[in-house]
């Protein structure tokens, strides 16, 4: 093995063009930049040196460096999955992307410099004052130390480990190494390999047997510049009979200077455990959001993914559950909203690997303007199982005449002791409904917003209250100017 590169001699940025990886891409939401001095910066482009550099900055053990290097090799070998996925993936320029940044200093931007329309967006979404500064990039870190340590203190008393991935691997290798990379192997797909090579940030959570974590754990609260990192890696282990709810993201637009976000999230629900994982994604319109999320549910365990995608240029994300133990249950609730220039390619995977396992997929998508929403799903029930059931429902709502939606499910059933059901429908907002509301004095846009909110209402209700309120406001916002 080559000696680790010294930090001082790490790749540096040659010219200004390379510094801004979003140059040349239309950024309607995130078109502001600010000068930030990064303490650690791996430069642009991806080579073995980049990976060694990241590993050395994080002071990782040799096995992890090996893991990263192998992953890099896999990433480089794997072709783009464009034989089934959108050709837009070919527009990702891997050489212009920064693979590692660690912020050392606060940005120099002030609140006064934040554009008015962004301030208005925060206002209308009802984002707390403190959080706004963080989201707008005024503060490098969201100042909620008090709230964070409070939660951490409460859960730590129960024996819950809630740390970032670097800390988790360093301080609790006995727990995390056992499960790390096991649910989603490096070679699962090109982007899981990429994440395995360059990951930083994300959460590591371990919930001891029988512990029911009372409040949802939020990545949001954790103070860490890596929080909204491009290549976060999250691993949650719920030991026997435990329960935990985890939330990531927020409904406010996230301004990002990176064009590629590729996370890997692995969940392990041991016997009788329950995990609920809630995501609200609202990346800027220039971001490729290519995420691999999968859970393993052991005997009588329950895993529920609640996944809401509003932002990004292209999202490809199919949360999955491998139902490994008898009577395990998997559920995916998915909401996608695709506006002009966006493609939300989302769905679910349910792999039944034991008897009497059940799974439910409910997906609702809304296409606005020239937006494109795609449902892609897989249900797999292999031979000689019995009592497995899957129910899938996909509803798509098209707002404008040029909106687009697709549905591509794949269902495999073997044997005569299981049952699957898949149903999908595509429709537009009922004219009668709009007419009725307009006759009651609502404008067409208000009526449309109300109808769209009604369409997703039964799913939105499953979100925590503050999220569902923000989601509703966000839909109002997105629907503006889409009619009339």
């Amino acid at each position: 093995m080559k000696p680790l590169p010294d930090i001082d001699t790490a790749p540096t940025i040659a010219d200004e063009a390379a510094v801004n990886p979003v140059a040349g891409i239309d950024q309607t939401k995130g078109d502001f930049q600010y000068k930030v001095d990064y303490a650690f910066d791996a430069g642009t482009g991806l080579t073995e040196d980049t990976v060694r550099y990241i590993s050395s900055v994080k002071k990782e053990e040799p096995w992890l460096l090996d893991f990263r290097l192998k992953a890099l090799k896999t990433f480089l070998e794997k072709p783009m999955p464009t034989h089934w996925a959108t050709k837009d993936l070919e527009n990702i320029d891997f050489d212009k992307i920064r693979y590692y940044l660690a912020q050392g200093q606060k940005p120099k931007r002030t609140w006064d410099e934040v554009p008015d329309d962004i301030k208005q967006t925060f206002e209308r979404l009802g984002i707390p004052e403190q959080e706004r500064k963080f989201l707008a990039g005024v503060e490098a870190q969201f100042d909620s130390e008090a709230a964070y340590s409070n939660i951490k203190e409460i859960v730590a008393k129960q024996g819950v480990i809630f740390v970032n991935s670097t800390e988790g691997l360093r301080e609790h290798p006995e727990i995390f190494r056992k499960f790390f990379g096991k649910v989603i192997p490096t070679g699962d797909n090109k982007f899981s390999a990429l994440n395995s090579a360059v990951f930083s940030g994300g959460s590591f959570i371990y919930v001891p047997p029988g512990v029911k974590v009372a409040q949802p754990l939020q990545a949001y609260f954790r103070i860490n510049a890596e929080n909204f990192g491009q290549f976060e890696r999250t691993l949650i282990i719920a030991d026997e009979g435990s329960e935990v709810v985890y939330m990531e993201g927020c409904t406010a637009p996230k301004f990002s200077t990176s064009t590629l976000h590729s996370a890997v999230v692995e969940l392990v629900a041991l016997k009788g455990a329950k995990i609920q994982y809630i995501t609200v994604q609202n990346w800027a319109n220039n971001v490729f959001n290519l995420v691999t999320k999968r859970a393993v549910a052991h005997e009588e365990a329950e895993v529920k993914w609640i996944d809401c995608n509003i932002g990004s240029r292209l999202t490809m994300k199919y949360p999955g559950v491998v139902l490994k133990g008898r009577k395990a249950r998997g559920e995916v609730i998915s909401i996608a909203l695709a506006n002009d220039g966006q493609h939300q390619d989302t769905g679910a995977k349910m792999i039944h690997a034991a008897d009497d396992t059940t799974s439910v997929v409910v997906s609702k998508s809304i296409s606005v303007g020239q937006g494109r929403a795609t449902y892609r799903g897989q249900v797999h029930i292999p031979r000689h199982l019995k009592g497995c059931k899957n129910n899938t429902e996909c509803d798509a709502l098209l707002i404008n005449t040029n909106s687009r939606t697709d549905t591509y499910p794949a269902i495999t059933v073997r044997g005569d002791k299981n049952a699957t059901q898949h149903e999908a429908s595509v429709s537009k907002v009922s004219e009668d409904m709009i007419f009725y509301m307009q006759s009651r004095g609502l404008t067409e846009a208000q009526a449309m917003s109300l109808a769209v909110n009604g369409f997703i209402n039964d799913l939105a209700r499953q979100f925590p209250m503050e999220y569902s309120v923000e989601l509703k406001r966000l839909i109002d916002l997105e629907m503006e100017g889409s009619v009339g």
Binding site: H83, W84, R383, H384, A396, L398, I399, N400, T401, N402, S403, R404, T405, D406, T407, Y408, P409, A410, I411, T412, V413, R414, G415, D416, K417, N418, A419, T420, Q421, H422, E423, A424, S425, V426, S427, K428
Partner: protein
């Protein structure tokens, strides 16, 4: 372009075999021979389907060999064949064996007087060249079998041609029989149906192996049909595929429905070792309707691979797809369907449904129902289910003293009747029912 290109397999269908085939049909119009030559070129350079081809997802690619077949099988005398006039007694018949016409019964005098043409494709190419040129194999192959569709066009020797003039209703269905006799035989059946404006016709295609020889002869069947329905026309097409259990079968359908036209096609799949069926419906003008139906009885280790595409190109069009599969033993079925609604095809009403009845613990059903919608004022739904017979219904019948085997048969026929009931012609309906019953009792 070289035929011996290392990337593309031609199997038994070599350049020499193609040249020999061309020599046999050299009396046909030059444009047709040119098209055949171009088709052979496409076939010879196209690679075999690969694992990464989405259009072949879940298919058994290893068994798609083109080796060991006879592209020019010897004639098969009619007397040696086990021919039945299935389902269309009294109507016009054409009987083909090993790509050649062996028997025929002309249309009733009344039908002929109305100007209905029912003839072989070879005769039509000579006598009605322009009609054939406008409709024969003119639709693109969009469902993955470009290579095999090109092979079909290259080696297509003869088939049936049906033309119904404007405003004419054919009094009876017409029947076309295709037989493959002998081991290794390659057949390329084709049926071309042209229903002019406001015409009406029912056509039945039967695909069978010539005799009940044992062991079952190994055959290669690569057939197609073109269904054209002019303004306000109505075409009903029924195909019964009952090749020997050692046959590799391809069937390509292209349906084009014009303004207010209505096309119903029903495919019964019973035979072959591995059978791929591609059905492509174009709803080209307002008011067009396509009814796409299929029934499959899958036994033993049979594989039925069905791929469909319904394209709505104009406003106010409708389509309804219902594919029902019954799976026994270690059989495998694949249904992959796609509804495409073009941007200006507002007020489309499209439905797609795949129901798999699992009758064995070793059977395997794959369902890939898809939608691609680019217009907003539409009603598009699809559904797919895979399950066994409802235990409660079974219990109810048994509680009434009906034996389990009989109860199962009744419930399976109940499952199929939803599709069979759409066939208005009673004799055809009964024939289909009989074939299914025979398959179940075998």
């Amino acid at each position: 372009m070289s035929v011996s290109s290392p990337t593309a397999a031609v199997g038994s269908f070599t350049q020499a075999a193609f040249d020999a085939h061309l020599a046999k049909v050299s009396h046909l119009p030059a444009w047709w021979l040119d098209r055949k030559r171009a088709a052979y070129e496409r076939f010879a350079v196209a690679p075999m389907p690969k694992r990464t081809n989405e259009g072949w997802r879940f298919s058994n690619l290893a068994a798609l060999t083109l080796d060991g077949f006879n592209p020019a099988p010897a004639a098969c005398p009619f007397a040696q064949m086990d021919h039945h006039e299935l389902g269309v007694t009294g109507a016009g018949h054409l009987v083909f064996a090993n790509n050649r016409l062996v028997a025929s019964q002309p249309l009733a005098a009344e039908a002929a007087k109305q100007g209905i043409i029912f003839d072989t494709l070879q005769n039509a190419l000579l006598k009605h060249g322009d009609l054939v040129r406008a409709h024969l194999l003119t639709q693109p192959s969009k469902l993955g079998s470009d290579k095999f569709a090109a092979l079909h066009e290259a080696f297509l020797e003869d088939g049936a041609f049906i033309h119904v003039p404007k405003g004419v209703t054919a009094p009876l269905p017409v029947g076309v029989f295709h037989y493959a006799c002998g081991d290794g035989t390659a057949v390329f059946p084709h049926t071309l149906v042209i229903a002019e404006d406001n015409a009406k016709i029912t056509v039945a295609d039967f695909f069978r192996t010539g005799s009940g020889a044992s062991p079952a002869p190994r055959a290669f069947a690569c057939g197609g049909n073109d269904l054209y329905a002019g303004h306000g026309a109505s075409v009903t097409y029924v195909a019964m595929q009952d090749w020997s259990r050692e046959t590799l079968s391809f069937q390509f359908n292209a349906t084009l429905a014009r303004r207010d036209a209505r096309v119903l096609s029903l495919n019964l799949h019973a035979g072959a070792r591995q059978a791929r069926h591609e059905s492509f419906s174009q709803l080209a003008a307002p008011g067009a309707h396509s009814e796409m139906l299929a029934l499959t009885v899958a036994h033993g280790t049979q594989e039925f691979d069905q791929r469909t595409l319904q394209i709505h190109q104009a406003p106010n069009t409708s389509s309804n797809l219902l594919y029902k599969n019954a799976l026994l033993d270690q059989a495998k079925t694949i249904f992959s369907g796609l509804i495409v609604v073009d941007a200006d095809a507002q007020k489309t009403d499209a439905y797609q449904s795949n129901r798999n009845l699992m009758l064995s613990d070793d059977a395997e059903a794959h369902s890939l129902p898809g939608l691609e919608i680019q217009a907003n004022d539409v009603r598009c739904t699809h559904g797919a289910t895979s399950a066994r017979i409802d235990r409660e219904q079974e219990f109810y019948l048994e509680s009434r003293g009906i034996k389990p085997a009989q109860a199962q048969e009744l419930l399976v026929f109940g499952f199929f009747e939803e599709v069979l009931g759409k066939i208005e012609h009673q004799e055809l309906h009964d024939t289909l029912t009989d074939i299914i019953r025979e398959k179940f009792r075998a």
